[in-house]
């Protein structure tokens, strides 16, 4: 009995005006999810910074083997960079289409993004296979161990991103633009753009600085 009287009286229900307009309660799930994924991405970037630090420390340790200037094919790296940059742009187009619930343009933009990502991955695998085939694999020197760890870790992220991309395309077909699917698309777009940011550091520090010195 006493419980119902408390609920009916607004003064008792909200004595400290916690539900006033400037305190609208917990943030909507879209913001909570996006922010949580942002924290994950930043910790991923911190992990990459450890790989960058070890690469920078070990880049001189070639053990008499070849250095960056002899190994890297800058033209190949330029094509990889162009592919990833364009895929970041088409990923942005996909998120605009997703917000407007335009399934056709979403699927087109995601397909282009996935193809560009797959092209990037293909070029990287070819580069790795070429290096290993010439005997300059990760076991050749500390420099090459650090190189394969750093660049390979980024490549693994791209591969995981492509799997996620295909999942999102399938989920939009199967379930449409539901609120939870839209949150996943938001997180995927964050992930894909973050990969491009890490690649900027990779091509600048590893390839361009590595072949300049």
């Amino acid at each position: 009995m006493s419980v119902t009287t408390v609920e009916q009286s607004p003064a008792y229900a909200d004595p400290h005006h916690l539900r006033a307009a400037d305190h609208p309660g917990p943030a909507p799930k879209r913001i909570v999810t996006g922010f949580g994924f942002w924290i994950f991405l930043l910790s991923d970037i911190v992990m990459f910074s450890c790989f960058f630090a070890s690469f920078a420390v070990l880049s001189g340790g070639t053990a008499g083997g070849p250095g960056g200037a002899e190994l890297f094919d800058i033209r190949n790296v330029a094509i990889e960079t162009a592919l990833l940059l364009l895929s970041s742009f088409t990923c942005g187009m996909a998120s605009i289409a997703a917000e407007r619930h335009n399934a056709l343009w979403f699927q087109i933009a995601m397909a282009v993004t996935g193809l560009l990502g797959a092209g990037f991955l293909l070029l990287e695998i070819r580069e790795f296979a070429d290096l290993v085939g010439r005997g300059d694999g990760p076991s050749r020197s500390a420099f090459l161990s650090a190189f394969f760890t750093l660049v390979g870790c980024h490549g693994l992220h791209v591969a995981a991103g492509i799997l996620w991309l295909l999942t999102m395309m399938a989920q939009v077909v199967a379930k449409g633009f539901r609120a939870d699917i839209e949150r996943r698309i938001l997180c995927f777009a964050l992930f894909w753009h973050a990969l491009d940011i890490i690649w900027v550091a990779v091509f600048s520090v590893v390839y361009l600085l590595g072949s300049a010195t």
């Binding site: 539900r19 609208p24 309660g25 943030a27 909507p28 879209r30 913001i31 999810t33 996006g34 922010f35 994924f37 942002w38 924290i39 930043l42 910790s43 970037i45 911190v46 910074s49 450890c50 960058f52 630090a53 070890s54 920078a56 420390v57 800058i74 330029a78 960079t81 162009a82 940059l85 364009l86 970041s88 742009f89 942005g92 187009m93 998120s95 605009i96 917000e99 407007r100 938001l186 777009a189 964050l190 753009h193 973050a194 491009d196 940011i197 900027v200 550091a201 091509f203 600048s204 520090v205 361009l208 600085l209 072949s211 300049a212 010195t213």
Partner: protein
């Protein structure tokens, strides 16, 4: 009562934006925003690749220039693709980013500093070999 709660939970009532979320605008201006980002990123990337391969600039300046260009391009990606701004709706995102950057600089800078110091203080390899005999 439940309708009331729904209103507060709605997206437009909040003063926050999720990371990666673009402020509302018409389709044309939003695509143009991405295109502007793409243009700037292409410009910075092309400059990086040009500087690394050319003999036109003073050679010792190349590493610094490459790092500056890379940081600038990361900024372009953050603003134009991830939509991180300094607006009040983005405070949480920027603070998290600032903390992440602090850790990144501590890890990279600290490692380089300590390892360079160790390298500097290490006995040259031939002397070390002689001592072990």
């Amino acid at each position: 009562m439940s309708d009331h709660a729904q209103d507060f939970g709605g997206f437009d009532d909040r003063g926050d934006l999720a990371p990666g979320e673009q402020q509302h605008g018409d389709l044309r201006s939003r695509i143009l925003f991405y295109l502007a980002g793409l243009g700037l990123a292409v410009l910075l990337t092309a400059t990086s690749f040009f500087i690394a391969g050319t003999h036109l600039v003073w050679q010792p300046s190349i590493p610094v220039a490459l790092i500056v260009l890379a940081i600038a391009q990361m900024g372009v990606h953050l603003v134009f693709f991830l939509h991180i701004t300094t607006g009040p709706d983005n405070t949480n995102n920027v603070l998290a980013l600032a903390f992440g950057l602090l850790i990144v600089f501590l890890v990279v800078g600290g490692s380089l500093w300590i390892m360079a110091n160790l390298n500097h203080n290490m006995m040259p390899m031939d002397q070390l070999m002689r001592m072990q005999q």
